[in-house]
Amino acid sequence: MRLIQSYASRQTVLEAALGRMAFVFDNFEQIIVSVSGGKDSTVMAHLALLEAKRRGRKVGIHFLDEEVCYQSSVDQVDYLMNLFPDNTTRIWLQMEFRLTNATSVQDGQLVCWEAGKHKLWMRPKREDSIKFRMWAEEAQTVRDKRKGFGFYDVIENFERCYSGAAFLVGLRAAGESPNRWRAMVKNPVDVGERKVYWGTKKGANVALYPIYDWNFHDVWRYIHDEGLRYSKVYDWQFRKGYPINQMRVSSLIHERAFKSICDLPEFEPKTYNKLCKRIKGIAMAQETGKTAKMFACRKLPKNFRSWIAYRDFLLKTHPDQSRIRLFAERFSRHLNNEYVARQQCRQLILNDYENNLSVDNKPDPRDELIRYYEEVL
């Protein structure tokens, strides 16, 4: 069959990945696969589990459960953890941490699995999950204390519980993003006597990306050939005619992922219903997530004369004083024009206190064009 990339040596990317997997098992005692329930991590976990089964060893399947995710993703992770139970160490983390909620400025952060709110949780905690922090309180690190203990803090602290372990991640860079490829391979890691370009050093551990050279279709081909189950969300998105760059199973409330809420009632009505009860701003995001005026900030609401006025209003009326200082401090370093102000509005609307949606800080390109038309017309 076609549809699988291959190297000049006629080695396919699958063969290359199997070779890498054997290399990982030869060189590491502890191997942990991070999964999200998406197609890439499904392939990654399956490849690792097959190798573990062949060698009669165990691999850790690690899932950081952020509570507000598709039920299909949860089902998929459950499926992966039960594929080869004898070769699997389940590391399903269900602990309290903070997650950015882009859909509401009042409820700007969701405290996942918040104690005392178990009646509101999207679903009950699992019996076999890890519910408490596995590290000592005094050793715990937090990237930004103003933001609190967040998603990446859990990952970092969790990884520090290990030493000399290989964390396998289903990150891919082929075809989609040359920049990601460059970022991935620029800091090779030494494993034994070999320089590994598909990995990076992570403290006392290494993160490895054995399927980094796989394409979209390599992944789907593997899932098909191996008869693996995959998240139903892909099927729903497929039926709706999603473009290939938008067809992904991601978080639901993050500033880069909130658009997935728009189709959630259609895909998973029960999840949507629970989400509405769990956190503020969901119904609003569902209705306006893809419109130009609200979250996209492409069109100025009609009761404002300019983006600058709109930005000042948003800043003035922001319910969280600490965030106002944070945003004001950041904006003071920017140019004060309409072009920049529109992007600042987007950061405010999406509660992007982490500055993930970067601002293109440059003079307004419209000014020059207006001057030109005034002259020639």
Partner: protein
């Protein structure tokens, strides 16, 4: 192979001949809806519209189905100037899977001569994806060029003092009240002002093309139409060159008469269009080398 300036019938014949000579099992035609190509019966053809190319439900199936015995026809797919647009990237992946590709396009550019490199990428499987137009590089692909010698003939329309006063006021109003609107709305809106003056010069027996049919004329077509009854006179120019090039491709017109008033905006649009024709000739001369 890239074939420039072919008629629909010639394109159909070219596809038939190619299929007969290369044992082609299936043909995929990628084309915007208004340029739908008619291919003689007896060939297994599937039409994929421009908007469908990036849709997952088409993308993967096509990747699965395209093989060494498949012919891909890329018809009038020069729609965007971004060479790295997602739609082009998807098309490239299809094209990489078969040696049989025919690229049909009426004009070799949208606005800049460099736009031709998008067609060049289709034919060369993107081997020179980062390079601009240069004569030496063009030898890497096979281009069959039937130039369409487009020329503009301005039909002058005089405006009265009242229209010119209204023009000056409208210009000021548009600039002062622009707010956050796109600055390109200034020439677009000003250009509409000369419409009434031009109306007196409309010949009921001739066909015209304009931005819209706000005057309710039976013989007025718009740039968005999917076909034209014959040669049309430009009642007013469009702002986007893609619309202009679509109009010329569908009407197959080489000499284009245009009603041009003495308002500055009309002269500006005329000059802009003449510059576009200049760039078109430049592209043809590069391709001939």
């Amino acid at each position: 192979m890239i074939a420039l300036g072919l008629h629909d019938r010639a394109k159909g014949k070219r596809v038939s001949a190619y299929c007969a000579g290369n044992s082609i099992r299936k043909v995929f035609v990628f084309s915007p809806a208004k340029f739908r190509l008619s291919i003689p019966s007896g060939i297994d053809v599937e039409y994929i519209e421009w908007d469908e190319i990036i849709q997952y439900k088409f993308y993967y199936r096509i990747l699965q189905e395209v093989g060494k015995d498949t012919l891909l026809v890329v018809n009038e797919c020069l729609r965007l100037q971004n060479r790295y647009d997602l739609t082009y990237n998807c098309l490239r992946l299809f094209l990489n899977q078969t040696p049989h590709v025919l690229v049909f396009q009426c004009f070799p550019l949208i606005d800049r001569v460099d736009d031709f490199m998008i067609l060049f990428d289709f034919d060369t499987r993107s081997r020179w994806k980062r390079e601009g137009v240069r004569a030496g590089l063009l030898k890497e692909c096979q281009v069959e060029c039937s130039p369409i010698d487009v020329s503009l003939r301005a039909i002058p329309v005089a405006t009265d003092g009242a229209t010119q006063d209204a023009y000056r006021k409208e210009k000021r109003k548009l600039i002062d009240g622009l707010g956050l609107k796109d600055p390109n709305t200034i020439p677009r809106n000003l250009h509409l002002l000369s419409g009434k003056a031009k109306l007196a010069h409309v010949d009921p027996g001739a066909h015209y093309v304009g931005r819209n049919n706000r005057f309710g004329l039976d013989n007025m077509r718009t740039y968005r139409d999917a076909g034209y009854p014959g040669a049309c006179t430009v009642f007013e120019f469009c702002h986007n060159f893609l619309d202009f090039s679509d109009f010329l491709s569908l009407s197959r017109q080489s000499e284009v008469p245009a009603l041009v008033s003495d308002l500055k905006v009309d002269q500006w649009y005329l000059g802009r269009c003449q510059e576009w024709i200049g760039r078109l000739h430049e592209a043809y001369s590069v391709l001939r080398q």
